[in-house]
Subunit: 139 residues, 2 copies
Amino acid sequence: MFTTPEEAEQAFYEAMRTADLGMMMRVWADEEVICVHPGGLRTVGHDALQSTWQQIFASGPIQVMPLQPMIITSVMSSVHVLIEQITVDTPQGRQTSLCYTTNVFHKSPSGWKMILHHASQAPQEAGLFDLQDRPDTLH
Amino acid sequence: MFTTPEEAEQAFYEAMRTADLGMMMRVWADEEVICVHPGGLRTVGHDALQSTWQQIFASGPIQVMPLQPMIITSVMSSVHVLIEQITVDTPQGRQTSLCYTTNVFHKSPSGWKMILHHASQAPQEAGLFDLQDRPDTLH
């Protein structure tokens, strides 16, 4: 049981790094859940989601690092937009790619649960900066 | 003032179709807002967001149609994952592309407001089906 959305998110990335399907599915809510992987089809529902993670984990653990989270909270809901840095070791050396990822968590009687994961390829300069309001600039 | 998240979303797409910056910015919350356009950088904050929409609208209206919404609601929050069908008329004819889009709305004293828009390119078969639990299948 996750007592904060951050705890649930930490378990989500730990499950990816260890290819632990059981841990992954404990992060997700039981009923209404939606997942969009980069380049993939929209996956809807707990069982369909379990199948797609099982396929992904069949290739082994994923070297993923969540970076630069921005968090917007509401009463029973927490919206996280972060950068996933994914590293793959290839015969040509280590390759790194970035995704923008939206994770949404809802509070339920059984703690905080993920209800949405939407990840998409980000430009390489995503790691360097956001387009952001500058509080020190006159408007 | 939007009394439902659906009303706010309708205004969002109407603003895109008419390149109406004023209407677009009335859809968004005043403070914490995040926007990710396909292939673009993460945009954070109301003023930065206004600049990016202004740039987009400088090229004129966008022929966009929201399709197949899936909605997960919480107390003061509504998460919509839909398909945007975007049509562009070119000298070579009409071209259509699809995006998966997550829109999140929060309820505020001034009605429902968009706090997140995350759109990313979707495969062409996205319009045909989701990977979905089949209630008529044995588990």
